[in-house]
């Protein structure tokens, strides 16, 4: 097939260009594709911090390159091909929407390793990784349930994909445990990063009476909107967003990619890299809970930290039965915990959440 010949020649060219690092003592070239700008203060910012950590850890052994604000789709495929052609040995594609482009480009460059964040398609040279953010959501939900006076928690969701739905469910379950009267109002922003839209969503939720705002979008705009409204609590998303502490930001879920990235780069240097499927949480340190501020009562803080520690130690799973689905059907029996397969493809709300998942 003609396509094959192109693939082969492109791959051969890439192999020539990416002269074997072991032989030439060239630095290992590591590429990063970001969905937002590195200054978003959230998701992309943390990936870029991890890139810098890789540079610091390996020094002259590595060279990193990145491209920010890459649209998910055809443009991502070009950005990836470009990096592979320029001799990248390992490329991290850091958003769900890069899944098919990553798989497509990986097929053309069998000698280049790819790591795709939050997806589910793997290949011999494509590994996937994600963090168990829902563990952090459990701690967040607990604090939110305790803090709310209006019993209304606003949630700015991004896209209705399993990762986001998992976060909503986990936060809701633990808010409900802390406060049986709590209700969730969920707004779908259909964006990962759009400060104007996120601010609008936050304002709308506050106007509807929400006094705690949780977000699954990447900018600090909801924090700013809450600060302006006053007496509204928020949590940093993906990054600590400590500049909004102690109020409105009372805690945060921090993505800590650096250890994983360093580990994978080391594997490429050693020649031991194989395709993997990593899903780590608070225990291994991929998810961190940001400092719980003084705006939170001391006893709530202590409870939240205890919850965090029990999750980290593997003593408690945020999805432990008895739990029912939104439609009232049984999901988990008493003491039963959710399996990773169900969690990975989660497309239902748990009982008590009002509204429907958009479809």
């Amino acid at each position: 097939m003609k396509k094959r010949t192109f693939l082969a020649s492109a791959a051969a060219a890439a192999a020539l260009i990416a002269a074997n690092p072991a032989l030439a003592q060239d630095p290992v070239k590591v590429g990063f594709i970001y969905v937002g700008p590195i200054g978003d203060g959230g998701w992309t910012y943390e990936h870029d911090q991890a890139r810098l950590a890789v540079e610091e850890h390996f020094g002259d052994q590595v060279e990193t390159i990145y491209q920010e604000s890459v649209p998910e789709g055809a443009d991502a495929e070009r950005a990836l091909t470009q990096m592979a052609l320029q001799g990248a040995d390992l490329i991290f594609t850091t958003s769900f929407g890069y899944m098919d482009p990553t798989i497509n480009v990986a097929a053309k460059f069998p000698d280049v390793k790819f790591e795709h964040a939050t997806g589910y398609k793997t290949a011999d040279n494509v590994g996937v990784y994600s963090a168990r953010f829902y563990e952090g959501r459990a701690v967040q939900g607990h604090i939110a349930g305790k803090l709310t006076q209006s019993n209304k928690v606003g949630y700015i969701a991004s896209f209705p994909i399993p990762e986001v739905i998992r976060g909503i469910n986990s936060a809701y379950i633990h808010a409900k445990k802390a406060n049986p009267d709590v209700e969730f109002a969920i707004v779908w922003a259909y964006t990962w990063f759009d400060p104007a839209k996120e601010a609008d969503a936050a304002k709308a939720l506050i106007e509807q009476g929400a006094d705690v705002i949780l977000q699954h979008t990447d900018s600090t705009a909801p924090q700013a909107a809450a600060a302006e409204a006053g007496n509204v609590y928020t949590f940093g998303q993906a990054s600590d967003m400590a500049e909004y502490a102690p109020m409105p930001r009372v805690s945060s879920i921090i993505d800590n990619w650096a250890p994983y990235y360093i580990d994978r780069v080391q594997a490429v240097i050693d020649g031991t890299w194989t395709s993997d499927n990593t899903w780590d949480g608070i225990g291994p340190g991929m998810v961190k809970i940001g400092e719980i501020s003084d705006a939170v009562p001391a006893e709530v803080k202590a409870e939240a930290e205890a919850l965090r520690d029990s999750i980290a130690a593997g003593e408690y799973h945020p999805f432990t039965g008895p739990l029912k689905k939104q439609d009232g059907s049984d999901w988990l029996a008493e003491g039963e915990t959710a399996d990773d397969g169900t969690l990975a493809g989660m497309n239902f709300y748990v009982e008590g959440i009002t509204g429907e998942i958009p479809n």
């Binding site: 003609k2 396509k3 010949t5 192109f6 020649s9 492109a10 060219a13 590429g31 700008p37 590195i38 390159i65 990145y66 491209q67 920010e68 604000s69 649209p71 998910e72 789709g73 055809a74 443009d75 495929e77 070009r78 950005a79 091909t81 470009q82 990096m83 052609l85 320029q86 769900f96 929407g97 098919d100 497509n104 589910y120 896209f159 209705p160 994909i161 399993p162 259909y190 990975a344 493809g345 989660m346 497309n347 958009p358 479809n359």
Partner: protein, 361 residues
């Protein structure tokens, strides 16, 4: 003292020279910006304008230029017809989305039928029809109720985006995608795929369609009565009426053609480079095409060149990001400068620069 004096007739020389001058000015001003960012300006300009065509990896980039320029040219050619006649379709982005949805829906409905001779042409027809019908909304509203087509077509872009999200999450979602949004990948469905015609060339049916559109628009404008009417309506609406131009027909024709071409661009994109209907499938081709149309002086050949130039700034800009660490915002500012200088130097087409005092009669 410098002053501007209106030319009796617009200068033909300047009409074609301003895009070139604008590009040169963009290089200079952009170079200063890159230098201020601490990057070597010469290297940056070379990476953007030279490397994609003649650099080390040009064998890959040249094809990508066509991939990027194809939809821009296809949409811009359609828009230029309306713009010449004073009919402002600003909503090509929406027509692009709807065309992609309709075309993809037909392909997905026939999955896994293997008859490419049937599936692909049907998808093309559905794509064009979808874009056309979406553009008919502002068209009919304008001819019936005299609404403003600029506003209606623009606002329909946001409606189309919502429909796109709904389609990606609902009716067109991949049933084998474990609940994740996005349709099946059409590129992996042989009968529906708009793959490269010659491997590595970037040449897919959308690029072919763009070239055909350029030729047809050229003939239409220079040889055909409709083209004469379009030009006349733009230059002198009153004269056009005396010449027997039916303004309503002209509005529907121009919006219909531009909508159909935008829809086609969407279809070729979704079946080819993008591969699937996803929530953020559209990346602004419909809006960028407006810039391309004006950069190309609303002339089919000009648009062909402008589309390639615009594609070059995208491809080269991305390369500069990856190789030189330039921020994405700097590349966008660079593209903005291009439009800014173009509009700025456009003054020279209609005005003459005079030094010295105004001569009083």
């Amino acid at each position: 003292m410098i002053r501007l004096e209106k030319r009796p007739t617009p200068s033909r020389v300047w009409a074609w020279a301003t895009p070139v001058v604008a590009v040169l000015a963009t290089m200079v001003a952009g170079g200063i910006m890159f230098a201020a960012l601490g990057k070597n300006p010469v290297e940056a300009i070379r990476t953007i304008f030279w490397d994609p065509i003649l650099g080390e990896y040009a064998f890959y980039y040249r094809g990508q230029l066509l991939v990027k320029a194809g939809p821009l040219i296809l949409i811009a050619v359609g828009l230029s017809l309306g713009f010449r006649a004073g009919i402002w379709n600003i909503g090509a982005e929406g027509q692009y989305i709807i065309g992609a949805i309709c075309g993809a829906a037909v392909g997905l409905a026939l999955y896994p039928l293997e008859a490419r001779w049937l599936v692909f042409p049907l998808m093309i027809a559905a794509g064009a029809l979808g874009g056309l019908l979406w553009a008919m909304i502002p068209g009919v509203l304008k001819t019936r109720f005299n609404t403003n087509e600029i506003l209606v077509s623009l606002l329909l872009v946001y409606v189309a985006e919502q429909i796109l999200a709904w389609m990606a999450l609902g009716p067109l979602r991949n049933p084998d995608g474990s609940g994740f949004p996005g349709s099946r990948n059409l590129r992996q469905y042989e009968a529906a795929a708009n793959n490269e015609l010659i491997a590595g060339s970037g040449m897919h049916w959308g690029v072919v369609a763009a070239l055909i559109a350029v030729i047809f628009a050229y003939i239409l404008l220079s040889r055909h009565l409709m083209g004469f009417h379009i030009r006349l309506a733009g230059q002198s609406p009153r004269a056009a009426r005396f010449a027997g131009v039916n303004p309503e027909r002209l509005i529907l024709f121009c919006l219909g053609i531009s909508g159909a071409l935008a829809g086609l661009a969407g279809l070729f994109e979704v079946a080819g480079p993008a591969g699937q209907i996803s929530i953020d499938f559209n990346t602004g081709y419909g809006f960028t095409a407006i810039i391309v149309a004006f950069l190309g002086r609303l002339h089919p050949i000009g648009i062909l060149l402008a589309g390639l130039l615009m594609a070059l700034t995208y491809i080269g800009g991305e390369a500069a990001q990856a190789t030189m660490g330039l921020p994405a915002a700097a590349i966008q500012a660079f593209q903005g400068m291009l439009l800014f200088f173009l509009l700025g130097f456009d003054v020279l087409t209609s005005f003459r620069v005079r030094l010295g005092r105004e001569a009083h009669a």
